[in-house]
């Protein structure tokens, strides 16, 4: 009896052990093992699956797209998999450059510099340079990563203002002449409020969207160099230029143009309000076209850059929309790269454009875009993205910044108070980093 019990227990434990060690590679088919691709893009799932089917027909290579959404869940999945060396052959990495650097330094991402440079930069020249740049590290970068390109962009995006032409006309304005200056923008906002319309909507419960809007105006008003100097700690957030940026949010609040509850509104809800013709302006990305056209095919809207505050040009936030990386620990790296080359080739990129209305990362495929997408595509080359900064701001400071903006929007703080609070957060983080660096040096 004892022997039977002991043997049974051993069998159970051994069974669990073997099953746990098996992983995904246990599933073998007749052809080469499938290339697994992890992604978070719910809107592209069907298109990806169709492309995987076509690739199998063309090459015999099976590709399996595995969707994990929303992005929070996806990020957790990728990080957990990285810790156990369980990443698939191809996957996406979301978030800051600092995070991408950690993945690279931990050996989870293959450098694509060699394949991009092969045949006289043949593959590199396919893409919008900005789209590649957000996945590349420059020589002597602050993260200590070997320079080169690491990610393959699938599409590009920028974030701008959508305006509802019908509602502009209702306000007595020329629907084809949206406000170009900040003052005019505020006036339209006030007018909308008086007429019982929502002037401006965006998903500002999602801090990154606030950050995007604020960064756009920070670069617009003070220039990229000064913003970079702030991140490096050479310019304080109490600088008048930064106070001006915070002040813009106060002005938006005071104009009454903001949707009620904008600070706890997720972007999906903001998109609904704009699609249902309840808001005059929406701050949203390229993906909005697909969302709005699906929700309300009769919606008549235009796309514009955020209005100018001074005389400087407005440079909007943009770059690669989504990118894929090749697992450096996979034994299927060449097959993975071959698939990504195929995926970024013109026919596949055109198919993705057709199905998902995202701007292809491939310049040739993006040459003949519908009018609305052209508005986004034409600003890509001049777009900015946090990943393009030599040093990105510390995430704790960004969080304080964005929450500070929220507190301005709800009338709880002034621009001056928020700028001081962010400056204090910056000092605290700088001091913490200095202590950590000191401890590291002593070791």
């Amino acid at each position: 009896m004892r022997r039977i019990l002991a043997t049974s227990l051993f069998a159970v434990i051994a069974g669990v052990w073997v099953a746990g060690c098996g992983g995904a590679k246990t599933a073998q088919s007749n052809g080469p093992a499938p290339i697994r691709v992890w992604h978070w893009m719910t809107d592209r799932e069907d298109a990806f699956n169709e492309l995987a089917k076509r690739y199998k027909e063309e090459t015999g290579q099976e590709v399996s797209f595995e969707l994990y959404a929303p992005t929070d869940i996806y990020e957790q999945k990728v990080r957990a998999a990285a810790q156990t060396d369980g990443l698939p052959e191809i996957y996406g990495i979301l978030g800051e450059m600092r995070g991408l650097a950690s993945f690279i330094q931990a050996g989870h991402v293959r450098s694509l510099e060699d394949v991009m440079s092969a045949d006289g930069d043949a593959w590199r020249n396919v893409f919008f340079p900005k789209a590649l740049a957000v996945n590349a590290f420059q020589p002597n970068n602050t993260y200590g990563v070997e320079p080169g390109v690491y990610g393959v962009p699938i599409d590009v995006m920028s974030i701008q203002l959508y305006y509802n032409k019908k509602l502009l006309a209702k306000l007595g304005l020329d629907p084809n002449q949206p406000p170009q200056t900040w003052e005019d923008f505020m006036q339209v906002g006030k007018l909308a409020k008086e007429q019982g319309l929502i002037g401006f909507v965006s998903g500002w419960a999602e801090l990154w969207l606030i950050d995007c809007y604020a960064t756009t105006y920070a670069i617009h008003t003070m220039g990229m160099e000064k913003v970079q100097q702030t991140y490096e700690g050479q310019v304080a957030y109490t600088d008048p230029d930064w106070q001006r940026v915070f002040g813009l949010f106060s002005e938006m609040r005071d104009s009454g143009m903001l949707a009620e509850g904008i600070v706890t509104m997720v972007n999906k809800r903001a998109e609904q309000l704009f699609a249902n013709e309840q808001a005059v302006f929406a701050f949203n990305g390229t993906w909005g076209i697909n969302v709005y056209d699906t929700m309300n095919p009769n919606l008549d809207y235009g796309i514009m850059l955020p209005p100018r505050v001074g005389n400087n040009e407005v440079v909007t936030w943009g770059g690669a929309g989504s990118s894929f990386f090749v697992n450096a620990k996979s034994d299927r790296q060449d097959a993975s790269i071959a698939f990504l080359k195929w995926l970024t080739d013109v026919p596949q990129q055109k198919y993705l454009l057709e199905q998902t209305k995202n701007i292809p990362a491939n310049r040739v495929a993006a040459a003949d875009l519908p009018e609305k997408l052209q508005a986004f595509a034409k600003v890509i080359d001049a777009a900015i993205h946090p990943r393009l900064f030599a040093l990105q701001e510390d995430s704790k400071v960004i969080e304080t910044f964005d929450k500070g903006v929220q507190s301005i929007l709800i009338g709880e703080s002034t621009a001056d108070q928020v700028s001081q609070k962010v400056a204090q957060a910056k000092e605290r983080e700088a001091s913490r980093q200095a202590k950590l660096a000191e401890a590291n040096g002593q070791r």
Binding site: A82, V263, T264, S407
Partner: protein
């Protein structure tokens, strides 16, 4: 070796699978959590930096946001302990009587807890919507339009609004436990009290409440532990906003881990949070023993 000694390991053999599971899913993760809490680590880097108790020092002495989130979760917990549990008890007493269709009421009252928190949160977001929400529409229709607002985005109402969602979702648990507790009170006690001329209020204070004391403490413990760990409803309704007014400890931990990418710090926050909840539970268990 005596036969008694030979068989002495038998119980351990039976316990082994459970012990193994507990070790793998309980002890090992806790050890890893403790170990990670001593590191400065982004969750990916191959070279985490050992910083001793640095994370704990920062959590305890410098992170005012973390303690503010405790106060906010405490506010929700206080409301849940009082309003939610009082409602649960009242409803349990109501359906403990011989009412027509009492099974239907019991089912209805237990429906909210079995619904997904995400779904419940989304429904309440529509109700509270500041632009086209049902609540504002009702207020306007009864002449209270001045009270209409973006309930989840107004710092004066956001936390209470979230608390209402949490209480609506959670009162069913207390209701079921109270109902079970009420059914263990012998009917003879009430009959004797009635014979002695005790009114309903007297019977509640002197029979129901004392005999229900252990159940009350149990429900209180579950309410405190459950409410202090409120998270999913916050994510769906406010994402911690406006400007951090609905942030709770679990949100802070989540944000440290996935927002700031400070895994070590998040683990330290988790351990501090766990220790506080453990202390509260121990105090309540001692109270429960006394009451028993």
């Amino acid at each position: 070796m005596a036969s008694g000694e030979k068989t002495s390991y038998k119980p351990y053999l039976f316990l082994a699978p459970a012990l193994l599971l507990f070790a793998v899913f309980g002890i090992v993760p806790f050890y890893l959590l403790l170990k990670t809490s001593l590191l400065n680590w982004d969750g990916i880097s191959l070279h985490p930096q050992f910083i001793g108790l640095g994370n704990y020092w920062e959590v305890i002495a410098q992170d005012s946001g973390f303690w503010k989130s405790f106060v906010q979760a405490g506010y929700v917990t206080l409301l849940a302990l009082t309003v939610q549990n009082a409602l649960a008890l009242l409803l349990a007493i109501a359906v403990n009587r011989e009412l027509p269709g009492k099974m239907i009421y019991r089912t209805i009252f237990f429906l909210p807890p079995i619904l997904s928190e995400i779904v419940v949160g989304l429904i309440w977001v529509w109700i509270y919507d500041g632009n086209f929400g049902i609540l504002n529409a009702i207020l306007s229709s009864i002449g209270l339009g001045d009270l209409a607002r973006a309930w989840l985005a107004d710092p004066r109402t956001a936390l209470t609004a979230v608390s209402v969602v949490h209480m609506w979702k959670g009162f069913g648990w207390g209701f079921v436990i109270f109902l079970a507790g009420l059914q263990t009170i012998p009917e003879e006690l009430y009959e004797a009290a009635r014979v002695d001329g005790a009114d309903a209020w007297f019977r509640f204070w002197h029979i129901t409440l004392p005999l229900l004391a252990p159940v009350l403490i149990l429900v209180s413990i579950l309410t405190i532990l459950g409410t202090m760990q409120i998270f999913a409803i916050i994510i769906v309704t406010t994402q911690g906003g406006p400007a951090g007014h609905t942030e709770v400890p679990v949100w802070q931990i989540f944000s440290s881990m996935l927002g700031s990418r400070r895994f070590g710090y998040a683990c330290a926050q988790g351990i501090v949070f766990g220790m506080i909840l453990l202390t509260v539970s121990l105090i309540q268990m001692r109270l429960q023993k006394k009451a028993a």
